[in-house]
């Protein structure tokens, strides 16, 4: 149902580098769990609306007023690498 190749692809989408030994055990775990969730296929859901959220809330707006927010220096203080008032990341283009 799910192959090691699928697991490698999903790991790529998830931005997680997996070691070979992890691939094997995760493939088995995911296979078991996906087999278990197959039981949902027994239900007729053709005319059922999805519930992404239980509250009758939508488009929660607020007044556009100016209030104090997190200072740039505070946000940068907890980052691993910063440069000239910005977060710093490794080179994107080689």
């Amino acid at each position: 149902m799910i192959s090691e190749k699928d697991v490698r692809y999903i790991a790529g989408l998830s931005r997680i580098h997996l070691r070979d030994e992890e691939i094997e055990s995760l493939t088995k775990d995911l296979e078991n769990i996906l087999h278990y969730v197959k039981k949902l296929e027994k239900l007729d859901i053709a005319h059922v609306n999805p519930t992404s959220h239980v509250l009758p809330l939508k488009n929660v707006y607020r007044e556009d007023t100016i209030t104090p927010s997190l200072q740039q220096s505070e946000a940068l203080r907890i980052s691993g690498e910063t440069s000239k008032g910005s977060f710093k990341v490794p080179k994107v283009i080689e």
Binding site: R19, L30, L57, I78
Partner: protein, 487 residues
């Protein structure tokens, strides 16, 4: 009686009568932590002497030390969800409930152990190792708020805060013989709660009795513009709902909850609980929640999909762990992301991120995630339907008592199934509480779950309080010993 063994309301009475002081209470709690946390391992970080400075202007008006689950942000105090990926993260702000506790003058005793990012039912998936169950140190305390429940059961805190996405307050409360309440979705602000599954997460109290749960919910409940899912409804004084009378209330017993897999001792405790409430005047009827058997499968699609999205933020850039790639495989940036997330996340976190990413990925979205959302509607409709026939639903909190450390770690599915009675409540957004309702022959606590309509925490408190006033399970004390299981 030692001060740390008292409930919050008992201590408040002593303070009013000037029979104790903040210092005496702190000494009792800190002394207990010193004495037994090396065995229980409920805490991952302690405030120690700094505890006193947490209250309003450093003057705690309610000197009742509280334990906080390690996924709720405390300004300038390391908060990590017991994950390596948040190592060193000191939030630059307080979660709304932390601000409320500070304003109420409640000091923070420390931060408690949990399954990494709340992914688990045993507190074994923590980067700090497992917490032990105070009733038998060879057993798990439940999870994911296992540290908070164990701290309260071992009297290492007067009360505690947990979070509940699929049972993470109620199941550990059940395993540790304490009271655990998941309020209605929207009742308590999640601002500053590090997100797991945003449509399910809710913060709530873990306490020694029902009265303390009402006092604590009074402090933390209410609308917060910083959490757009918190609901702008008036918050009643929940202590006024502590009424020892359930005459005229109708309680539904879902027939689907008393089938295969339930421990006979749990079943027997449930039957006696029903008798207690019957004697108090409650009426019982059998009801049906026909989609119960699909709840765990639905939850593991919806919750993991949301988790994979929420955990995408841990990229090594803005905060937390950042690793330099050991070798260049893709680009330096991509390698940094992948290396950081490989080392930063534990096994269960990786499993859930992968499952959620799969359920959301192109070609599988309709079959998995969307199907999960649709079945969620059926599960929620079941509750809506049942609540037209009764005021509350009574179930066990968990199908078994606490299991042994290591017993389920190699079988993720078996672990997921220990949440079978609690998960539907999160999918439906309704409130529920677990209260102690008995002990197994091995001396492990059993929990009773009461569920009510959305925003009807008052009926929840009335039922739980009446049950508690007519039983004495909540008065037993854990002995912090290791027992070999009889079975």
């Amino acid at each position: 009686m030692k001060l740390n063994e008292l409930t919050a309301h008992e201590i408040l009475t002593l303070i009013k009568a000037k029979k104790t002081s903040a210092d005496e209470i702190y000494d009792a709690v800190l002394g207990r932590i010193d004495q037994c946390d090396k065995d229980v391992r409920a805490y991952v970080r302690l405030r120690g002497a700094q505890m006193d400075s947490d209250g309003a202007n450093g003057n705690a008006s309610q000197p009742l030390p509280i334990a906080i689950k390690d996924n709720i942000c405390i300004r300038d105090v390391e908060t990590t969800c017991c994950s390596r990926i948040l190592t060193g993260f000191k939030p630059p702000y307080d979660a709304t409930i932390i601000a409320k506790l500070k304003n109420a003058g409640v000091p923070i005793a420390g931060q408690t152990n949990m399954d990494e990012f709340a992914f688990g039912s045993s507190t074994e998936n923590s980067c700090h190792g497992p917490t032990r169950n105070p009733w038998n140190l060879a057993c798990v305390p439940g999870g994911s708020s296992g540290g908070s429940a164990a701290a309260v059961a071992a009297h290492e805190a007067i009360w505690a805060i947990g979070s509940d996405t699929g049972g993470s307050i109620r199941q550990p409360a059940s395993f540790c013989g304490v009271v655990g309440l998941k309020p209605t979705y929207g009742r308590v602000s999640r601002y500053g709660l590090i997100a797991f599954a945003s449509s399910l997460d809710q913060i709530g109290p873990i306490t020694k009795d029902v009265t303390d749960a009402a006092i604590l919910l009074n402090i933390i409940a209410g609308y917060d513009p910083k959490d757009s899912t918190s609901v702008d409804l008036p918050v009643p004084d929940y202590t006024r709902a502590l009424i020892n009378d359930v005459k005229g209330l109708t309680i539904g017993i879902p027939k689907e909850y008393f089938v295969e897999g339930i421990d006979p001792e749990v079943n027997a405790a449930m039957m006696s609980s029903i008798e207690v409430l019957k004697k108090c005047g409650a009426l019982f009827k059998e009801v049906s929640l026909p989609h119960t058997e699909y709840a765990v499968a639905t939850y593991y699609l919806v919750a993991t999909a949301e988790a994979s999205s929420n955990l995408a933020r841990y990229d090594g850039v803005q905060y937390g762990l950042r690793l330099q790639p050991s070798q260049v495989r893709k680009t330096a940036l991509m390698d940094m992301y992948e290396e950081t997330r490989d080392i930063g996340f534990g096994r269960e976190a990786k499993r859930r991120i992968m499952l959620g990413t799969y359920a959301l990925s192109s070609g599988y979205y309709d079959d998995y995630y969307l199907r999960g959302l649709k079945v969620r509607t059926l599960i929620k409709n079941d509750f809506d339907q049942v609540f037209t026939q009764c005021d509350a639903i009574l179930t066990p909190t968990a199908p078994t008592t606490a299991f042994k450390i290591g017993e389920k770690t190699n079988d993720p599915l078996a672990m997921y199934l220990s949440d079978i009675y609690t998960i539907s409540v999160n999918l439906s957004g309704v409130p529920a509480v677990s209260v102690p309702c008995g002990f197994s022959r091995e001396g492990l606590p059993i929990g009773l779950q009461i569920i009510t309509k959305p925003f009807d925490e008052e009926t929840l408190f009335r039922l739980a309080y009446t049950y508690e006033q007519n039983t004495d399970w909540h008065k037993r004390k854990a002995e912090l010993k290791t027992y070999a299981k009889v079975k």
